[in-house]
């Protein structure tokens, strides 16, 4: 199949058929993030795709080497804009692993809550943009308006709407404000009631089913082989979740199950995101119920003189898009020696496109991208 379509370009050229380029992104409404594919088209179908990456490359890993440990905290959430907390959690987690720190229980639970809230914001955006890609803008508007409520909660807790910079090595920055917990309970009820509305308008819509079915099928074998993680892996039927398999924060003390889908196509991925949204609500409720009293961080002294002992560690978290990993190398100085980031959408965005896009219609590209949750900043870095 693949070879067929890569060769087709040449055959079509030879036969005098018109092959033309379409720049799908960066300046394209179906694209979110500054990223693009250049696709060779024959009629309505794609013959070949080339990646146009690096538009968001900021040299994060290099800048981090020149910054203090604590300065980097304000930098890392900017790697993934819609889902910033996994970055902080993974970065702090790696540092704590090198230092051998065990953070206080309360901090673990608060981290879990913020991580799950961040997943919710990201999923709301992801579900909304499935609507956006098919032209169902109402869903997008409704979901983004609802997402704002979560952002308000973040602002109350951390002071920032988008970038929270809340996790620090040794715990979290501050305790929950008064009344925040009760408000969050209310918000969870709100979202649970909203799910019905989303179902009606998006997930049970026959046209959405028609559009999503059979787009970008991945099998379980392929997903494992090609490094695809997170919801995209679970949509192929593999019951795997980093939260269970390699627990961090307080996930080992919470009970939740991992939703899976079988088909591995866009519809399965979209449905899985919806199922995960439900699980997330239950996790937040549990974490709020079990939230212990106590300190929220370990005092580690002056952040300007903060040093991490020599060593290296890999910490990974399950973000809304898949496995987010930080590998940190410290030589005992006030700055990291090397920080390497494993972005979850790299295999999907930069590699899978060569497998899936040839043969696909131009109509489906935006949908394919949205359901795979390709987030350009995390591989451009």
């Amino acid at each position: 199949m693949i070879d067929l379509f890569t060769d087709i370009t040449e055959i079509a050229n030879k036969d005098g058929n018109k092959v033309y380029d379409i720049f799908f992104g960066p300046n394209h409404p179906g694209m979110h993030g500054n990223f693009g594919y250049v696709v060779d088209m024959i009629g309505h179908s794609i013959a070949k795709a080339r990646v146009n990456a690096g538009l968001l490359h900021r040299g994060f890993e290099k800048i981090m080497e020149t910054n203090l440990w604590h300065q980097n905290l304000s930098l890392i959430p900017r790697i993934c804009v819609v889902d910033p907390d996994p970055n902080e959690a993974a970065y702090c987690g790696a540092i704590e692993k090198i230092m051998g720190l065990e953070i206080p229980e309360r901090a673990k639970f608060i981290r879990t809550i913020t991580l799950e809230m961040s997943r919710m914001t990201s999923h709301l955006m992801g579900m909304g943009s499935v609507g956006g890609a098919t032209g169902l803008y109402t869903v997008m508007y409704l979901m983004l308006a609802d997402r704002d409520r979560l952002l308000d909660m973040f602002e109350w807790l951390t002071g920032g709407r988008i970038y929270h910079i809340y996790n620090i090595p040794g715990g979290v920055r501050r305790d929950l404000p008064k009344g925040w917990k009760e408000k969050l309970y209310g918000l969870m009820d709100f979202f649970e009631s909203k799910l019905k509305e989303y179902d009606e308008i998006l997930y049970r819509h026959p046209i959405i089913h028609k559009r999503l079915k059979g787009v970008g099928v991945i099998t379980a074998e392929q997903a494992k082989k090609w490094g695809i993680t997170g919801p995209n892996l679970r949509a192929t039927g593999v019951k795997f979740d980093t939260r269970k398999a390699y627990p961090y924060a307080a996930y080992d003390q919470l009970e939740f199950d991992i939703p899976t889908e079988k088909e591995g196509d866009a519809l399965a991925r979209a449905n899985l995101v919806r199922a995960e949204f439900e699980v997330t609500i239950s996790i937040i409720r549990q974490a709020l119920d079990k939230l212990p009293e106590g300190d929220v961080n370990i005092k580690l002294g002056n952040p300007l003189k903060f040093k991490v002992p020599e060593g290296e560690a890999y910490a990974k978290v399950e973000s809304s898009k898949g496995e987010y990993g930080y590998y940190i190398v410290s030589t005992g100085g006030i700055k990291p020696y090397r920080v390497s980031v494993r972005g979850p959408s790299l295999p999907a965005g930069l590699f899978l496109c060569h497998k899936h896009l040839p043969g696909m219609r131009i109509d489906d590209v935006a949908l394919w991208m949205n359901t795979l949750q390709i987030c350009a900043p995390d591989f451009d870095r």
Partner: protein, 280 residues
């Protein structure tokens, strides 16, 4: 003018569905005036010709559509002439934007023309039904036939045909689920992709005219025309509101699905309606 007002009101309705306030109702006039006062980028003289042809075609169409029983000159609203003239608009647009050289534009035009293929057949079937009933192809006469109260309107007499026509008109107005030709997230707003400034202004006027005459046809066919211009416009707005509401809760079909849908569901509805009518 009225068409622009309709679009403006339609935007408010969409905004309300999306829990927003929406723009002021005269927003569309502001947009058009702004666009007409703007620099426009010009690729080829065909573009200008195409735009003018599109607008001219639609105005010529509008001249023949009776508004509340009134026509600029007495042509009687010949239905087939209207259908033919309406195509000129699209062909003009196709010609204009193909000259722009952006690959998205021909893609959009290809979709628009295949969609046209899709909706003309059920629409023609509806017309055949009415022509065989009235024995005339004049819109004025079809409208006049329904005079005499709510119950003699065609919408009450032939509800299935009305549903079919509503679906068809949805495709005619390129509202969702049949907005494949625009499809921002797929082909970057298709035909409009290279149109800026005055061309886009003309395009918007053209869209307004199209909406006006399409709703006018619907009102004449199913709502018994109108006693005066106000009730007529009110009915037109009713038709447009239905279209907008459907538009705001529907995603978009793929083009082949859309054509298949148009060739099956509305056509089947009309055939059932015909059977009911003729067997009774």
């Amino acid at each position: 003018m009225v068409g622009l007002l309709f679009i403006g009101l339609g935007r408010i309705i969409t905004a309300r569905v999306q829990r927003r306030i929406g723009p002021p109702f005269y927003q569309q006039f502001i947009d058009v005036i702004k666009l007409l006062a703007r620099e426009s980028i010009w690729h080829h003289w065909i573009m200008t010709l195409g735009s003018i042809m599109a607008l001219g075609g639609l105005i010529a169409t509008m001249v023949h559509v009776p508004v509340a029983g009134w026509l600029p000159y007495d042509s009687g609203g010949p239905i087939f002439l209207i259908l033919y003239l309406a195509t000129i608009g699209y062909l003009g647009m196709a010609m204009g934007v193909s000259a722009s050289g952006n690959p998205n534009a021909p893609l959009g035009i290809g979709r628009a023309l295949s969609l046209m293929l899709g909706y003309e057949i059920p629409f023609a079937a509806i017309l055949i039904l009415f022509i065989s009933l009235t024995g005339s192809s004049s819109l004025t006469e079809i409208a006049a036939m329904q005079a005499g109260g709510f119950l003699s309107w065609n919408i009450v007499k032939f509800p299935l045909a009305f549903i079919a026509a509503e679906i068809t008109v949805q495709a005619m107005m390129a509202e969702k689920p049949f907005d494949q030709m625009i499809a921002p997230s797929e082909i970057a707003s298709g035909p409009l992709v290279e149109l800026g400034g005055k061309f886009l202004g003309l395009g918007m006027i053209q869209m307004a005219v199209a909406i006006y005459f399409e709703t006018a046809i619907m009102v004449n066919l199913f709502f018994g025309g109108g006693a005066n211009i106000f009730t007529f416009t009110l009915k037109q707005f009713g038709v447009y509101t239905i279209a907008i509401l459907i538009n705001s809760v529907m995603p978009r079909y793929k083009i082949e699905n859309a054509v298949r849908y148009l060739w099956t569901v509305p056509l089947a509805l009309i055939i059932i309606q015909m059977l009911i009518v003729f067997l009774r």
